[in-house]
């Protein structure tokens, strides 16, 4: 597995105190608003050396190929000119001829004039032109690019201001002409052009997180974001081990789709034999009255209720169903069998869903605890003078709980889809082990930390005992979690 790592981010990572086994798979992070021009330009530089082109051209080529070097090497050399026109680094003569009107422009008749303000070029009003030769004064370049940048992300694709000129405005022009806020905005778009298109970069799916992760090999693997959350690099959603992406998606669809309602209706209701409206059975009695049409019938045989009586074995003990069944009425028994199967399926689904949901809630709860813990760490440091390095375990513990809950959540999805009984038994054993330890850990970390903040208590042994316990548990859960 090849991965990318830059030095300035390595330092940050240590500060954060959140290295974990998963982080050994080296990844790098970009902040949404980081001025990480450098990273992009390093990649571009390699291309510049390879092709002997300019940096501006290199950026345009890289963007065109979505930063995929393999694709670039396969396609670029055989099609240089055609692609050059397409990506706006080679002037398209044919296109510019399509609209001869531009040639009739006032400024064109008077060489030495800016084609935007119609002012004459001079020492004060300097001109600047891209390789297409269309000339504009510097002030208008600034206005033009400023306006483009404020219109949005598309600014990075801005063309020469001349009508029907295909040449793309080079990065260096933006850098040269934009000032302050405009430049900041441009850099945002510049970074976005890299991160959005690059298959090796993914945005963290957690709300409130502005980081994205760059990762060289996108197999089915989890990556940890700088914000402390981990997500699946392949599908971009929250970590879903031990499930694969497809299972996860199926499960999510199952949860949200209407199909479950249909299953539920099938298991719990029948149609009124008279008006065909669904009827729900919520009591043991077989005497049904349709709320819509007031038709009375028997739940089991769907026969008219008035025909029931002593003959059929009593109102509350319909034997007609049994009778028909014994006679081998295929239709009814088939209906009933599929209804029963659907009911069993629903029970099974509900069993797994409830547990999935339970861990999901616990995970959310643990997440909400994270800022509380952070504040407590600060207080323990300030009031009781514990060095930060001695308090890291709290942060690690809460993050471990979150990760455990996440894994546990998806073990129920995995279990739901696991059909092999032998495998399921082993799996359930591991699941139970993790669940038990995670519960202990969660309980411990939820306990108020206030007693350890009491300035009257000088003895620190209870705190260290607590710390030992926590570390012990999260080492256990981590081991179990990573083995599953």
């Amino acid at each position: 597995m090849q991965s990318q790592h830059s030095n300035n981010y390595e330092d940050d990572q240590d500060d954060y105190g959140w290295p974990d086994e998963e982080d050994k798979e080296q990844v790098s992070y970009h902040h949404q608003f980081d001025n990480d021009e450098k990273r992009q330009l390093e990649k571009v530089q390699k291309l510049v050396e390879l092709l002997g082109c300019s940096q501006d051209q290199g950026i345009a080529i890289m963007r065109f190929f979505k930063w995929n070097m393999d694709k670039l090497q396969n396609e670029w050399f055989s099609n240089e000119r055609r692609l050059g026109i397409k990506m706006g680094i080679e002037f398209d003569n044919d296109l510019s001829k399509k609209f001869p009107l531009t040639m009739q422009s006032l400024a064109h008749n008077n060489q030495g004039y800016c084609m935007i303000c119609y002012g004459q070029f001079s020492q004060k009003n300097k001109q600047d032109n891209m390789s297409c030769g269309h000339q504009f004064c510097q002030e208008d370049w600034r206005s033009y690019l400023s306006q483009k940048v404020n219109e949005g992300f598309q600014a990075v694709q801005s063309k020469c201001p001349q009508h029907l000129c295909n040449m793309v405005v080079p990065h260096s022009y933006f850098v040269k002409y934009l000032q302050k806020e405009d430049m900041k905005t441009y850099m945002k778009w510049f970074c976005k052009a890299y991160t959005d298109d690059n298959k090796n970069v993914r945005w963290c799916p957690y709300s409130g997180c502005d980081y994205c992760v760059e990762y060289q090999d996108y197999g089915e693997s989890d990556v940890s974001c700088k914000c402390g959350n981990s997500f699946c690099f392949k599908c971009g959603s929250e970590s879903h081990r031990p499930c694969d992406c497809k299972q996860t998606e199926t499960w999510k669809n199952k949860n949200s789709a209407e199909s479950e309602n249909i299953t539920w209706i099938m298991a719990n209701t029948k149609q009124c034999p008279e008006c065909r409206k669904p009827i729900e059975k919520n009591q043991g009695c077989n005497h049904m009255t349709c709320k819509m049409c007031s038709y009375e019938f028997c739940w089991l045989c769907q026969g008219k209720w008035s025909e029931h009586g002593q003959k059929t074995g009593g109102y509350y003990n319909c034997n007609k169903y049994e009778e028909l069944k014994s006679k081998g009425d295929v239709k009814i028994s088939k209906d009933e069998t599929s209804r029963q199967a659907a009911k069993n399926e629903l029970d099974r689904y509900m069993f797994y869903f409830e547990r999935f949901n339970n861990h999901d809630k616990a995970e959310k709860h643990a997440r909400s605890l994270r800022p509380v813990i952070k504040a407590k760490i600060q207080l323990l440091h300030e009031i009781k003078k514990y060095p930060p390095s001695e308090l890291d375990f709290l942060d690690e513990a809460i993050n471990e709980v979150i990760k455990c809950r996440q894994v546990l959540k998806y073990t129920y999805v995995y279990g739901y889809y696991l059909k092999n009984q032998k495998e399921l038994n082993l799996f359930q054993f591991l699941q139970e082990d993790l669940e038990k330890n995670c519960d202990y850990l969660h309980e411990l970390i939820e306990k108020p930390l206030d007693p350890y903040l009491d300035t009257n208590i000088v003895d620190r042994s209870t705190f260290y005992h607590f710390k030992g316990q926590l570390i012990n548990y999260y080492q256990v859960t981590r081991k179990v979690r990573l083995s599953s």
Binding site: S105, L106, M115, I116, Y118, S143, Q147, K159, H163
Partner: protein, 211 residues
């Protein structure tokens, strides 16, 4: 931002073009063979003393349903001009798939996302003229006209010509007299009223009605 300097220059350029039209129209009468087609020309002038509000004029191109018509365009120049396109709208009613028959709104790429600051009001007006020659019914502004254009081209051409006749042509004095006479006024009185109001049809009619 570009100040009014560019707008002044554009106006001057257009007015020079207008002068040319006048001379060519003059030539047209004396020497029809050397005719430099005036339909190639467009004109514009400012409305009142607002430098950012213009009225453009384009002549209906030859061999189209708009031939002989004179179309007035309302032009508003935004503060960000020329980095943002001018806002243009037909004042003269016109039957064309890319122009609203109700509001005169125009669907033309260079007046929207294809606008570049190197384009001018004049080039935009010339593009509009080109649009009259080559309607694009697949990118319509007026769905009804576009539908007619595609399903019944003959009817479309008839309607477009009728609209040009009715809305885009300067009427001769005789036409005006005839119109007033149709309302039941005697010929000599109609002529008199028109003469009195400098051939303004509406004022003449007002006068006739008011007694």
């Amino acid at each position: 931002m570009v100040d009014n300097g560019r707008i002044m220059k554009e106006l001057k350029e257009l007015q020079e073009a207008t002068k040319n039209v006048i001379t060519t129209s003059y030539q047209q009468q004396s020497n029809p063979i050397t005719l430099q087609s005036p339909t190639q020309q467009v004109q514009a002038s400012i409305v009142g003393d607002n430098l950012r509000h213009w009225t453009g004029t384009i002549f209906g191109p030859k061999d189209t349903c708009f031939e002989g018509g004179i179309f007035k365009i309302d032009i508003e120049i935004p503060g960000e001009y020329p980095f943002k396109p001018p806002k243009m709208r037909f004042i003269t009613k016109i039957w064309h798939p890319n122009i609203s028959s109700q509001t005169g709104a125009i669907c033309l790429d260079i007046l929207k996302n294809e606008w570049t600051p190197a384009l001018t009001i004049r080039t935009a007006l010339i593009s509009l003229q080109a649009l009259l020659c080559a309607p694009e019914p697949d990118d319509p502004q007026d769905a009804e006209v576009a539908r007619q254009y595609k399903s019944d081209k003959k009817l479309y051409e008839y309607t477009a010509k009728m609209w040009t006749e009715n809305f885009a042509k300067e009427q001769t004095v005789d036409d005006k007299v005839k119109k007033l006479m149709e309302m039941g006024f005697p010929e000599d009185i109609c002529k008199e009223a028109l003469e009195r109001y400098d051939n303004d049809e509406n004022l003449a009619l007002n006068f006739l009605l008011g007694g």
